[in-house]
Amino acid sequence: MGLFQRLANFLGVRKKDVNVLVVGLNNSGKTTVVNSFKSEDDRITDIVPTVGFNVERFQNQNLAFTAFDMSGHGRYRDLWEHYYKNCHGIIFVIDSSDRLRLVVVKEELDLMLQHPDICQKKLPILFFANKMDCKEALSSVKIAAALGLDKIMDKPWHISASNALSGEGLQEGVEWLTQQIREMLSVKS
């Protein structure tokens, strides 16, 4: 790496491209979360169930994010694992009002963590306990306990309660993710 590039990196002038994977069950609000990261002009108003996946780009602190917004429907969840290899971070969106499917969330999370492309890497995982405005919503602490997040030792993780409709809690989470990815990249280079 040339001196100029190193300097540019140090000063944060040059943008780095990072890939993040947005996963979670259907109707958990993944597309809404990604939508609220985009600039005001690019936002879409009608959000429909995603088929397959969408690719969205947004920026945060000189990192250019490419978000793979995966469909959460049962029949498309097989697609997730194909994107594990090239991602720098994972955003896992959870519907905190859906108590019934918390076991399904745990099952999918465990399947993901056991995947060979994930279990060897030190990927940061950001959990959004979404729909915190719903009256039957569980707190992020309860969700973390239900999913057994404390057992994840080898990966940095963070859970933040969010409301993707108003954007509450999203910035806090994505800043943590940016920080983690920056650290990871600086260790690598």
Partner: protein, 594 residues
């Protein structure tokens, strides 16, 4: 990878509430999108059999109870169906209580349908007409008249009168309601719904009602007018489970299980059902498998029977315990339809065809099982037990039922043939054999002929091989070597013991020649012991006798021309007249030095 083989359940235990205190019966629990948001709710009736508390209609959103309202009577059945095409699509939940059908929309009652009264039996109608017309119809006379009529066919009022012990009470009753004719209520026993003209999941469907006296009504979903009315069977039968297949406007089949152990079939246009199957033991539950049109019936003698749509029995199997309830488990993503069977010991078995492929368990005997979409999750099994607990189980996305399944469709034979498992290799081979049958046969025949030829060649070679003569029985092999150009030769005999275990003893070798031609240095010799697998070499000098002027060929000794120039060797055993081995050594002609 099959998870079942690793001992991991295919079901996720989503939620269990042991203190729910629900009492419900088969046919009283449905999964419906009652809010019209695509978020399916669980609708069930909670039965209370004591006089003070009322039965309730309860709605669960996910695991939370969101609505709880009292019902006017003890409900017998609940169905959910779409009545109109209005957006948002909200289904009607119909609850049958007594002879009335209460239709709820948005969890609010909006319509009550009353099943038409049954006509009174002629005799009873005659008695009551007399009672209403004449002022002085005595209580005793009435009782005697009613007693002459079969009790079961009487109206509720007549039955009540007959049950009164004192004639004063009867007279009292007679005075109270003697001026009106009694009515015979047609109590609803079970319900179903049937799509009207489209197979879509949200298609408009008609409710179907079956009553205590065996009448079947198909109702219009919008105005609850009777579209079709029929009788269950030509004999007295009380339906208690009704299942529908097909479309009302096109062709439909209604399967009705009765308390008398019949299964009756009712098709479009029929005014009376036909008894398809007659069972000797009581029917516990019945499901109609869509697609194949099979009927699976559980009976009270721990048996499961599967019948074709024509009523032929395809298979029967026994269950480990008493069956309490059944439910269809349609799995569209793997295009199968399984049947969940709740057993009294609290286990729920999943049958694919006649094979149990999976099981899961609940706290105690399940009383109702329902499978379908709940909330956002498509494959949820809701189980309510007799003890009142409610459990939600979710089928894992990765659940794999394929590896254990050997037989998909039920077969007519009682026992499957003991066929070996078909491997991939076997399949490939059989495909190849079918494709290139001629070439494979020809190649095989060619190789067989080649093998026979080479075997024959080896035999001929062995027979014609002079140097290696053996006696299999004595385990002795003799070979001879002729050295020299002549007239002096050296013959080296080699005797080999081919027996790997025993040595050879007591053998002699005798040379036999025509003395006119050959003179030998040694004519007979004793062979010492030959150890196993070793050989003994014996040397003899041969000198050809050459006589001047005589052509060796002309000599008449030995008959044939070539036979004279030979040395015969006999291997004999002591005291045995027959030689063990004999050989002829053809001597080469002497290269005469002229």
């Amino acid at each position: 990878m099959s998870r079942g083989e690793l001992g991991i359940s295919r079901w996720l235990e989503a939620h269990t509430d042991r203190s729910a205190g629900l009492t419900t019966l088969p046919g009283n629990m449905v999964l419906a999108d009652v809010a019209g948001t695509g978020d399916y709710h669980l609708v069930l009736t909670d039965l209370k059999f004591n006089q003070d508390t009322k039965c309730r209609l309860k709605v669960y959103k996910g695991t939370l109870l969101v609505s709880d309202q009292p019902l006017p009577d003890i409900p017998s059945s609940v169905v959910g169906f779409y009545a109109d095409q209005l957006e948002p699509r909200i289904p009607v939940v119909a609850v049958a209580c007594g002879s009335e059908l209460f239709a709820y929309k948005n969890l609010k009652p909006f319509y009550k349908f009353r099943v038409p009264f049954c006509p009174l039996v002629d005799e009873e109608a005659g008695v009551w007409t007399e009672v209403t017309n004449s002022e002085s119809f005595g209580a005793d006379k009435l009782l005697n008249a009613l007693k002459a009529i079969p009790y079961a066919s009487l109206s509720a009022r007549s039955q009540y009168i007959l049950n009164q012990t004192s004639p004063i009470l009867v007279a009292e009753l007679l005075r109270k309601c003697g001026k009106t004719m009694p009515t015979k209520e047609n109590i609803i026993t079970c319900m179903a719904s049937m799509a009207r003209s489209s197979r879509d999941r949200r298609a408009i469907a008609c409710p179907i009602i079956a009553t205590e006296f065996g009448s079947i009504f198909v109702l219009d979903p919008q105005n609850f007018a009777i579209l079709h009315q029929a009788n269950t069977c030509n004999v007295k039968a009380t339906p208690f489970i009704i299942k529908s297949t097909g479309l009302f406007d096109v062709e439909f089949r209604l399967l009705i299980a009765t308390r008398e152990g019949h299964i009756c079939l009712l098709r479009k246009g029929w005014l009376e059902g036909k008894c398809l199957i007659q069972l000797t033991s009581d029917i516990v539950d019945m499901v109609a498998v869509p697609g194949d049109n099979f009927v699976i019936v559980a009976t009270s003698d721990k048996a499961l029977h599967c019948y074709s749509k024509k009523g032929q029995r395809l298979w029967s199997t026994t269950t480990a315990n008493l069956v309490t309830c059944m439910s269809l488990v349609p799995l569209e993503h793997i295009s199968t339809c399984m049947v969940a069977i709740g057993l009294k010991n609290g286990s729920i078995q999943l049958y694919q065809g006649r094979q149990p492929v999976d099981f899961t368990s609940v706290a105690d005997s399940p009383s109702v099982i329902t499978f379908g979409q709940l909330g956002q999750e498509e494959h949820v099994m809701v189980v309510i037990t007799i003890g009142g607990s409610i459990s939600f189980k979710i089928l894992k996305r990765t659940a794999d039922f394929s590896s254990k399944v050997q037989e998909n469709s039920p077969m007519l034979q009682s026992r499957p043939l003991p066929l070996p498992k078909r491997s991939k290799l076997f399949l490939e081979q059989s495909i190849r054999e079918r494709k290139n049958a001629l070439e494979i046969h020809q190649t095989f025949q060619q190789d067989l002929i080649r093998l026979r030829l080479s075997a024959a060649r080896a035999l001929v070679q062995n027979l014609s091989d002079q140097s290696g003569i053996g006696n299999e029985k004595e385990q002795l092999k003799l070979s001879a070597q002729v050295l020299g150009l002549g007239p002096k030769f050296t013959v080296i005999l080699s005797l080999e013991n081919i027996n790997p275990n025993n040595p050879l003893v007591g053998l002699c070798v005798t040379f036999h020649v025509n003395p006119l031609y050959y003179v030998l240095s040694l004519y007979a010799a004793k062979v010492p012991l030959i150890p196993p697998s070793l050989s003994y070499k014996l040397e003899t000098k041969v000198e050809e006798v050459i006589k001047e002027g005589v052509e060796s060929d002309d000599l008449p000794v030995g008959g044939g021309k070539g036979n004279c120039k030979v040395i015969r060797v006999f291997v004999t055993r002591e005291l045995m007249p027959v030689p063990v081995l004999a050989a002829t050594i053809n001597m080469p002609p002497t290269e005469l030095i002229v």
